[in-house]
Amino acid sequence: MPLSIKKNLNTKSKFHYSLVLSCLGLNLIVSLASCRHYGVHGELMKTNPTQIVVPYFDSLQYEYHYTAKIRAYDKEINGILVVKKIDRLHKRVVMLSDFGNTIFNFEYKNDKARVIYVMDNLNKKIIVDRLLLYFDFLSRSCYQSSRYIVDGELKTYISRIRNKRVKILQKREKFESMSLVSRWKEKAEVRYYANTNYADSIVFQSRELPINMFFVKRDKVFTEDQ
């Protein structure tokens, strides 16, 4: 409340104003203490920096091809997603239209992202930043972590990607799911449906923006002689 307004309050109102402020402050302290990590319950443990491996998109030089459907706001983009991990800290993520022309082409190297190409009508900073983050998140396979939360057989590692917090859930030491979170709420979630380390399908859901993405493994990879 601005100072000029506060000066005009009578004594009773001043008391109510102070009470409201105290309650808000108390609420904030309680929130800070209880929401150290959004939605994670259990005992926080510290460890030496450990590498957490998400098994998908982890094979070096392998080319992963998915049929992609992206729903963003009221728009829909269909096409083909190609991900290639060139070395441990270097990968390419490309989205193609059905006719094969490039929608976007990103390179991630040593934790830095580079836009090689993005279609004109997507080439707005806010959209490109989100795409860079979301596609890095869903295709990254290595995370560093020195903190985890244990709750029975569940273990949640806390890590970071592009300065954003990531929560990696393991059950009996096996990867379960992964979320992009802030202190206060979940920003995005990715789920992999898989029998092998090449996921059959991937569902990405943003919780901060109306964006959903679905990816289905392209059944066959043709060779030149076919």
């Binding site: 983009i77 190409y117 289905v216 392209r218």
Partner: protein, 206 residues
């Protein structure tokens, strides 16, 4: 002697793949052949193989399917491998059928309509008078190669060049190559063509 043999083989290969510019008379004759054929075509059904090549990929991204073009100019791209999926271009709208899930995307319809119109007119060969392109005509082995360069700046951001291959004495395109400004390209090859066969209207229903 074997040195001469190698030189001969290399020279032969070089000659067959060499592009030589067509003369004005040859171009006029070729265009006449193609345009006469285009006028007689009311519908096309063809199988296609689409290969996307990118510099960083070892394997092309390959899709296969069939394409239908009817007398009203409606176009259907029916992908059958690796996933079943179809796109219908009808009355300047795009309709998608993804394994029974039907939708009408609102993103970039103009661009995809343009690409579709280019491909369909390329297949028919009715493509040489588009003011958005400049044209060059070459003989390449026994084939004729037509190189189209985008003059329109907006289109050139997506497709810089289109190359069409017409087999010897044929007025129909057997291959379309779409080249992006980065140099990455998509090749669409057509096989098993049927001309002027009746196409069921249901093929274009959504």
């Amino acid at each position: 002697m074997w040195v001469y043999s190698i030189i001969f083989i290399v020279a032969l290969g070089f000659t067959t793949n060499q592009e030589t510019k067509m003369t004005t008379a040859e171009i006029a004759s070729f265009k006449q052949l193609v345009q006469n054929q285009a006028k007689s075509i009311s519908s096309i059904q063809t199988d296609f193989t689409q290969k996307k090549s990118m510099a960083f990929l070892e394997n092309d991204v390959i899709s296969k399917g069939r394409m239908l073009l009817n007398a009203e100019g409606n176009l259907k791209w029916q992908y059958t491998e690796p996933n079943k999926y179809s796109i219908i271009f009808k009355n300047d709208r795009i309709y998608i059928n993804d394994n029974g899930n039907k939708s009408t995307p609102s993103v970039d319809q103009r661009l995809f309509n343009k690409i579709s119109a280019l491909i369909s007119s390329s297949i028919k060969g009715d493509v040489f008078n588009d003011a958005e392109f400049s044209y060059e005509y070459f003989k390449k082995g026994t084939d004729i190669l037509v190189k189209m360069s985008s003059k329109d700046k907006t289109l050139a951001k997506y497709i810089q060049k289109i190359e069409l291959i017409f087999p010897k004495n044929e007025a129909l395109v057997s291959q379309v190559k779409l080249i992006e400004p980065s140099g990455d390209f998509t090749i669409i090859s057509f096989t098993n063509r049927k001309l002027n066969a009746v196409i069921d209207k249901k093929e274009f229903e959504h």
